[in-house]
Amino acid sequence: MEQLISRFEQAAQHPLEGARQWKAETGRRVIGSFPMHFPGELAHAAGALPLLLQEGDEPITAGLSSMFPFYCGYTRSIVDQAMKGEYDFLDAIMFGDHCVQLLGAADAIRCNRPETRILFNQLISSMNAPWAMEQARETFRQLQRELEEVIGTAITAESLTASIKIFNRNRVLIRRLYDMRRAGKLALSSAQLQHIVKSSMVMDKETHTALLEQLLDEIAAKPAPRVGGVPIYLSGHLCQPPKLALLDLIENCGAVVVGDDLYHGYRYIASDVEETGDPIEALAAWYLTRNRKVPCPTRSDAGADWDAFLVQAVNKCKAQGVIILMAKFCEPHMYYYPEIKEAFEKHGISHLLVETEHESMPLEQFKTRIETFLEIIKRRAAA
């Protein structure tokens, strides 16, 4: 198992190297993409590798000349990597999220790297609009046309449906790990689970699925239930993954993570795409309905309640507390934090807000806060 985890870790820690190697070996195209809402299935159906662009670990240097420091770490890191030429090997980057900071990043990259091929497709963010389905469908059709042109391969309904099945299979397998974790039957750490999800965002999907199948077989052959600790739910961190050192710290302080709604976690694999009917229609429906599975604060949706979802999720996995991981300057998260906090208070759920930054990681301070938080939970449980 260690060997398999190491493969996932290697891919997750070095996504650009992996993609470069894949390109060299296959001679096929690599399409970068902003995170959160765009399905990779379309690029995959054209034979390309969809690569979700990841926040780097490097300090922001070149990017300082294009982005203010009061932007989220992900945005600044993406611009920084682009300006250092890290994305030059990509055949195109798919931009177009609704987030104002990401839009700024897209323009900074366009201005600084004019040779970068950019596909711009903005999905409707107002999910309840009567024309939302039509708009989502049209956005995906436009993206399909642009990808066909860049990659030089037609995306047929058959090829897209095949890709949807491949992606669904991958999500189903990762969800099995999540089910096991919730049931206390998985001994993987949060960092290891992050390696698995993050590598799925950047690796060839079929290769990743094959590794996952092996992993699940090995886990089935040698079941290792999790060892005790305070069961904790992790919430937040949308575009970028929490730093591994922070995840390790949380567990080393005596917590055991039993569930999460992180994008580099359950949010990414929460819902599947219909495998029958018109595949573009299916992707549009997936986009509009997945928000009900794990509500996203970047979308406007009267039928989605992140706070209610969290209360339910926390109870379902029997977590005794929630650590909210908020990436500094992430506006959608800042908007929703007060009502999440109120919902937790109303339901007697212990919670701790930890604000994270790209540049600094005050681990000692976090350690004190997390230890105190876990101590409070233990005392409450004992009372």
Binding site: S65, S300, Y335
Partner: protein
């Protein structure tokens, strides 16, 4: 005026004596704004339904239905300009809104929280606190409309308002997609993207009319919309003509005169009164040109202001620049927004022209086209330097500012950035502005000296 060979060291502290020669007409404008808010505070007593909205200038749609309306941004700016924003901001902070969040939103949401608190307990508003009393005058909404070009924060802000009122108030979200400008035929007011987006927004405006009909029980009269738009269009034409007159040297009006005249084309009702106001403004400008009078008495430098206004600091900044003989002649927020293309509006059927003016909110263009327009405005007004206000919590306006500065320098203009915010005064860094402004003006002097000696 100082000789360019012997530049006086710029003194960037605002002088005790006022230097900025603000347009007298703006006092009339101030009264119109005051009357609007007074009228709004009485809307419920008059039996009018109230719409809270954010984003672009859609009030003609509400005026057509005889509704009262609150522009969230304008309300936050109003409180800040009157230095009454703190109770609302504190209410937001008490609930847990982080300080790095859009301060417009924090102030408006905080104001809604005070409203809700007062609705439950009248004693929650301290009768001796004038600022809290002002905040609590805002009538609560019967409808919500979100119409934000470009900025995702704007839509999330209205979602918070919607949720704060228990998801019981009908909400309409108008999607105004970005004009990215990536297609081969893209350009300012042209190209297939422009055509598609124009139709999309126009179609949604008709849906908005239906939404207003549904929630008022009244018919949306398009003839009435045309009438309202006739005043808006005329006012917009007069405003643009008056702005164009400021190519004169010295500039007869400044950016700060235009800032205090934004409400009139942003959210005030379309009536003869605003037409009269802009006629007055234009006439005063013409008179000043005839007499050679400038907005800054000894205009030596002509500047362009980029970024959102720092609403707590209008007078302060006007004086600061005037004190060093710098006339801020134009700006992105004032000159590239608010019905700046009135000729697009066909009064026989104004919807399409309205949609197009909403789309060209300057942020809503991808950087290359937006920066091209900024450079065009700078050329037109013979601008020496660009001052960029890096408004801490308004990323919609700080996006692309590095590229704007780069372009300014390529065009032979100086550029400087200062830090502040839209309505959270605590982010404003006066000393930073002083130092950088001084350095920029010295650079301009050096450059002028160099060219004067070379000539």
């Amino acid at each position: 005026m100082q000789s360019i060979d012997t530049p006086a060291p710029p003194n960037v502290m605002p002088p005790a004596k006022k230097t900025a020669n603000r347009l007298a007409a703006t006092k009339v404008g101030g009264q119109i704004v005051h009357d609007y808010w007074s009228d709004l505070f009485n809307a419920k007593d008059d039996g009018r339904k109230v719409v809270w909205y954010n984003g672009t200038y859609i009030p003609p749609m509400f005026q057509t239905m005889d509704l009262a309306w609150v522009h969230g941004e304008a309300w936050s700016a109003y409180l800040a300009a009157k230095h009454g924003e703190l109770p609302a901001q504190k209410a937001g902070e008490d609930r847990g809104y982080v300080r790095e969040l859009c301060s417009y939103a924090r102030t408006h949401i905080g104001s809604a929280l005070l409203d809700l608190r007062a609705a439950v307990d009248k004693a929650a508003v301290d009768p001796t606190d004038a600022r809290a009393l002002t905040t609590s005058k805002l009538p609560p909404p019967d409808m919500l409309v979100n119409a934000y070009p470009y900025c995702s924060s704007g839509q999330q802000w209205d979602q918070q308002i919607f949720r704060l009122f228990g998801k019981k108030i009908p909400i309409f979200n108008l999607s105004i997609p970005l004009l990215w400008g990536g297609r081969a035929d893209a350009g300012y007011l042209r190209g297939s993207e422009w055509e598609e987006r124009s139709k999309y927004v126009a179609r949604q405006l008709r849906e908005l009319a239906a939404f207003l009909e549904e929630h008022t029980g009244r018919k949306f009269e398009y003839d009435r919309l045309s009438e309202v738009m006739s005043y808006i269009k005329k006012s917009a034409e007069l405003r643009m003509e008056a702005m164009d007159l400021c190519t004169a040297k010295p500039s007869p009006a400044s950016y700060f005169d235009w800032i205090v005249s934004i409400a009139h084309v942003n959210f005030l009702p379309g009536t003869q009164r605003i037409v009269d106001y802009f006629e007055l403004v234009k006439a005063e400008i013409q008179e000043r040109i005839a007499q050679g009078v400038g907005a800054v008495p000894n205009e030596k430098y002509r500047l362009f202001f980029d970024g959102m206004m720092n609403w707590n600091k209008i007078g302060w900044l006007a004086e600061k620049f005037a004190a060093v003989n710098a006339s801020v002649v134009a700006g992105r927020y004032t000159h590239m927004s608010f019905w700046q293309e009135p000729q697009l509006i066909d009064l026989a059927d104004p919807i399409m022209g309205m949609a197009q003016n909403y789309l060209i909110c300057p942020n809503n263009h991808g950087a290359p086209i937006m920066i091209g327009e900024i450079d065009r405005v700078c050329d037109k007004f013979d601008i020496d330097g660009v001052v960029l206000h890096a408004s801490r919590t308004c990323r919609g306006m700080t996006n692309s500012q590095f590229q704007i500065a780069d372009s300014a320098k390529k065009h032979g203009r100086q550029a400087m950035t200062f830090e502040g915010d839209v309505v959270d005064e605590s982010f404003y860094k006066d000393e930073l502005l002083n130092t950088r402004l001084e350095a920029m003006l010295e650079s301009m002097d050096s450059r002028r000296n160099y060219f004067a000696k070379s000539a």
